[in-house]
């Protein structure tokens, strides 16, 4: 990423966003660690973990927004990439338990001892090394997305067909990971983690560091997405979103562009999953449930499809609402609210919160858009999707 690309991609709102995330990433852990327990400003550890979870969701939402908001690919299976990244990290954490497990086997995780396995399956090799695990966090979701996308985009599977088969993909993985003989802990998944890189995962310091890392990852992901959508590549992506056939007729290799963003987006989802697992302390097959992936799409729709800030914001807002309502007396009504959110946002707020705000704010500013800062005009770039979508 050249400095030129960076400066071009940063307008005022993007800078504000980055600064806010960075400030949160530093202040919340500091307040948790330095201020005395019970002080009014001290953030309790459980909140640090909770907000860490939201930040991971925000990264996932960015990944979805990159392909849906800017390239028109509605993936209903992004939860699968998130979960695969999570499993890769979970496998590393399982290997770190070592002989401290219930059965005390130095090599085999507890569930394998329980299932009477005598040796580690080949695909678990190497996961005791952190760099390898990190590599796998990127490679496994990326590879799956690459193969899947290569098959799908090359034969021009688009629109709802693509959505349906991505849903089938995550459903197939859900069924597979539920099986005990698949070697990933079956129904219970991977849990009971002890430490990461030698630090106790339960400790306040580790949690604070993970939170900071998640915020950093969110900033990096945001910068990458910004760089892409403000580049020429981003213009082609938007062209594909709005008129795929026309873009192809103009001579662009549509499938290569789509494949690139789809794979990149899957890698980002994988990273989000990998950061998510040590903070919540468990990964199990329910993360593959098709419902989860669709829920992630609605975060993007709420925040504003085609606005990166909106996607991240939507993830935090919807999940905060979920935590708020499901833990109170309103819990039985949460699904009503979530369902209504799906319907109302698509009917009344097709541009989402940020997109609607931009559309409302732009005429007020009524300033001629400078040629360099043209990105602001694209921020509300959710054009009416054409019927051929």
């Amino acid at each position: 990423m050249t400095p030129h690309m960076l400066t071009r991609s940063l307008d005022r709102s993007a800078t504000t966003f980055i600064l806010v995330v960075a400030a949160l990433g530093v202040l919340i852990p500091l307040s948790n660690l330095l201020l005395p327990q019970g002080s009014a400003l001290q953030v309790p550890t459980y909140l640090v973990a909770l907000w860490g979870k939201y930040v991971c969701y925000a990264i996932l939402a960015l990944a979805i927004d990159l392909i849906w908001g800017y390239c028109g690919i509605l993936s209903l299976g992004h939860g699968a990439f998130f979960a695969l990244g999570g499993y890769a990290m979970g496998m590393y954490l399982m290997r770190q338990i070592g002989s401290r497990g219930v059965y005390g086997n130095p090599i085999l995780p507890d569930f394998m001892v329980f299932l009477n396995w005598d040796k580690l399956p080949w695909y678990w090799y190497g996961f005791d090394m952190f760099p390898f695990a990190v590599l796998m966090v990127l490679v496994v979701p990326g590879l799956l997305a690459f193969c899947f996308g290569w098959l799908a985009f090359r034969s021009r599977v688009t629109g709802v067909y693509l959505s349906i088969i991505t849903q089938a993909m995550t459903y197939a993985l859900l069924l597979a990971f539920f099986r005990n003989d698949f070697g990933f802990g079956g129904n219970n998944g991977l849990t009971d983690f002890k430490d990461i890189l030698g630090f106790n995962v339960q400790a306040d310091g580790t949690r604070a560091a993970l939170f900071l890392l998640s915020c950093l990852a969110l900033i990096v992901a945001f910068l990458i997405c910004r760089a892409i959508v403000t580049s020429k590549l981003g213009k082609v992506l938007i062209a594909i979103r709005d008129a795929e056939s026309r873009t192809r007729f103009l001579g662009y290799r549509v499938e290569s562009y789509k494949l690139f963003v789809f794979t990149l987006s899957a890698c980002m989802a994988g990273v989000a999953g990998a950061l998510y697992v040590p903070q919540v302390g468990i990964i199990n097959p329910s993360e593959f449930a098709p419902g989860n992936s669709i829920e992630a799409v609605i975060w993007v729709a709420v925040g504003g499809r085609g606005t990166l800030i909106g996607a991240a914001l939507g993830a935090v807002v919807v999940n905060y609402a979920k935590t708020f309502f499901t833990s109170g007396p309103l819990a039985p009504y949460w699904l009503f609210m979530l369902g209504a959110l799906f319907i109302l946002v698509t009917l009344l707020l097709p541009k989402g919160l940020v997109g609607t705000f931009n559309a409302w704010w732009q005429p007020w500013k009524a300033q001629p858009v400078s040629p360099i800062a043209g990105s602001a005009a694209r921020e509300d770039g959710v054009s009416e999707p054409n019927p051929a979508e």
Partner: protein, 537 residues
């Protein structure tokens, strides 16, 4: 004349004896002695008792031995009295048949071991071989076939000679063949004939019998047995194929029923209705409500509950479908991805609404009498509910096809499917067609719910478990042609059931999903894709 008198005299003496046996409990005859042996709690004594009772000709013999088989025979070791607990919990004295108030405190059930169980079965078989009811005779002959007790041979042969019922005659012949096959002094020719008879029977039990008889046989017979075994095995393999195909057809019919409404809405309107599964669920809950009302008000009409539920479910789901189309979906035309999200939200709301109204647990929906039970076809069992669902699905399909072909609405729907704008220019009110189409698709989903309530759990999650499968069917079959849905549903159903025994249920399902994903690469618009200009519109 004299002979006649003698017969009468004999009958008289017999009846006197019988009366004596009933009227004088104190009179201890061989039957009573035999019964008392049960109280010794020795397996050998029990065996002797069974043998003696089986040949006694006493009317209590059958109740005693069947009670012994079911563990309802108890004995008091002190008084040496034996009791039968009857099916209605009344207790009688086994030796006399007199009613008893309650079992003595130290009475314990007479114990059996595996060897004795076979003896009991054989004794029961002998006792019922001459029953007046042909079905009982067949059952008795079956049990002899399994036990192949040599002792039963004379009875079997006698029964075979005077048997007139075809099924019973067949069963007796098979039982006789089984005995002869295990009889050490039977001639080779007899044994070969026996093998042929058993081979003809061709089921799992015949296979087990031949396998256990294979050792210690003369070479000629052994060869015939080996031939019989392999022929039965290939026969059974064929039947298991037939069985898989039947299961596949049955699964396919369920898939077709769930997917057909989806195919209509997707084909005509290009709308992905994620709440389709919830329409199925509403149909199932309509059935539940209908049955509840019938159960409490008009219990005699229970057998008609489904006939009432089918039109009602169609109306309920159809009306909700029209409502959804008018209030949500019509604002989202041309935005299929948004429609997908909105209908997903709708499915969450409907599920939660049903969960609030009916509770999260499974509700009980009963099978009417004409849908319960099963019958045998060759070596496979066909349950009536699956058969009815298959017929019902095909009927719904045929009606739908006829509707699309011969009614004005059908004509308009086809026109809109092929070219919406041209249809609109020709004066077809496309928005009315859309609403009716959506109502029709939802109504059919409701009907599917009635059928699925008969084979699946009626819970708020009922629809969710079918939605992905139905999408697969539609995607595989292609839109715009109902035949595609039919072929897609049955192909997936049968492929699934043939993969299951090889790969296991879950892996089979995964394999099917992967195959469909690969198939989509080759034919992105399904098996029966629309061709021409309409495709890109």
């Amino acid at each position: 004349m004299f002979g006649y008198c003698l017969d009468r005299f004999r009958a008289l003496i017999l009846s006197v004896f019988l009366i004596a046996a009933f009227a004088l409990p104190a009179f201890a005859g061989p039957f009573e002695d035999a019964v008392a042996k049960f109280a010794n709690d020795e397996f050998s004594d029990t065996e002797e008792a069974i043998g003696a009772i089986a040949v006694s000709g006493n009317p209590l013999a059958f109740p005693i031995i069947s009670a012994l088989q079911d563990g309802r025979l108890s004995a008091d070791p002190d008084s040496k009295k034996v009791f039968i607990t009857q099916a209605d919990d009344k207790i009688i004295d086994a030796a006399t048949g007199a009613a008893v108030d309650k079992l003595p405190d130290n009475a314990a059930a007479v114990r059996l071991n595996n060897r004795l169980r076979r003896t009991v079965e054989a004794a029961l078989g002998g006792l019922t071989l001459l029953s007046p009811d042909p079905a009982k005779r067949v059952a008795a002959a079956q049990s002899v076939f399994k036990s192949h007790e040599e002792a039963a041979l004379p009875v079997i042969e006698g029964a075979l000679a005077k048997e007139t019922d075809k099924a019973a005659k067949q069963a007796f012949a098979e039982a006789r063949a089984a005995i002869i096959l295990f009889k050490s002094d039977a001639s080779d020719n007899d044994k070969l004939e026996a093998v042929a008879v058993i081979k003809e029977r061709g089921d799992q039990e015949a296979l087990a019998l031949l396998t256990s008889a294979a050792s210690d046989q003369p070479p000629l017979v052994a060869k015939a047995i080996a031939g019989g075994i392999s022929s039965i095995q290939s026969n059974l393999a064929m039947w298991s194929m037939v069985q898989n195909a039947w299961y596949g057809l049955s699964l396919g019919s369920v898939l077709l029923l769930a997917a057909i409404g989806l195919a209509i809405t997707f084909g005509v309107m290009g709308v992905i209705n994620m709440a389709h599964g919830e329409m199925v669920m509403l149909g199932a809950y309509t059935t539940f409500v209908v049955q509840e009302v019938i159960r409490t008000r008009y219990p005699a009409m229970f057998d008609y509950s489904l006939l009432i539920a089918v039109p009602l479910a169609f109306l309920v789901a159809g009306a909700i479908g029209v409502l959804i189309e008018r209030s949500i979906i019509r604002f989202l035309y041309g935005r299929p991805l948004e429609t997908l999200l909105a209908t997903w939200g709708l499915s969450l709301v409907l599920q939660q609404a049903v969960r609030t109204a009916f509770g999260p647990t499974n509700r009980e929906v009963g099978n009417p009498s004409w849908m319960s039970g099963a019958f045998e076809l060759g070596q496979i069992t066909i349950t009536y509910n699956r058969l009815w669902i298959l017929c019902f699905t095909l009927a719904v399909f045929a009606i739908l096809l006829a509707m699309l072909r011969y009614t004005a609405l059908g004509l308009e729907m086809r026109a809109v499917t092929q070219n919406r704008r041209m249809a609109a220019s020709m004066g077809i009110a496309t928005s009315r067609v859309d609403a009716l189409t959506f109502g029709l698709g939802s109504g059919i989903a409701g009907i599917a719910g009635v059928a699925l309530s008969q084979i699946d759990n009626v819970s708020p999650n009922l629809g969710q478990s079918y939605i992905i499968d139905s999408f697969m069917v539609v995607v595989f079959g292609g839109v715009g042609n109902l035949w595609g849905t039919l072929v897609g549903a049955f192909t997936l159903g049968i492929a699934n059931k043939f993969l299951e025994p090889v790969a296991g249920a879950v892996l089979g399902k995964i394999a099917i999903l992967v195959l469909i994903i690969l198939f989509i690469q080759k034919r992105p618009r399904g098996l029966f894709a629309l061709k021409g200009r309409a495709v890109e519109a």
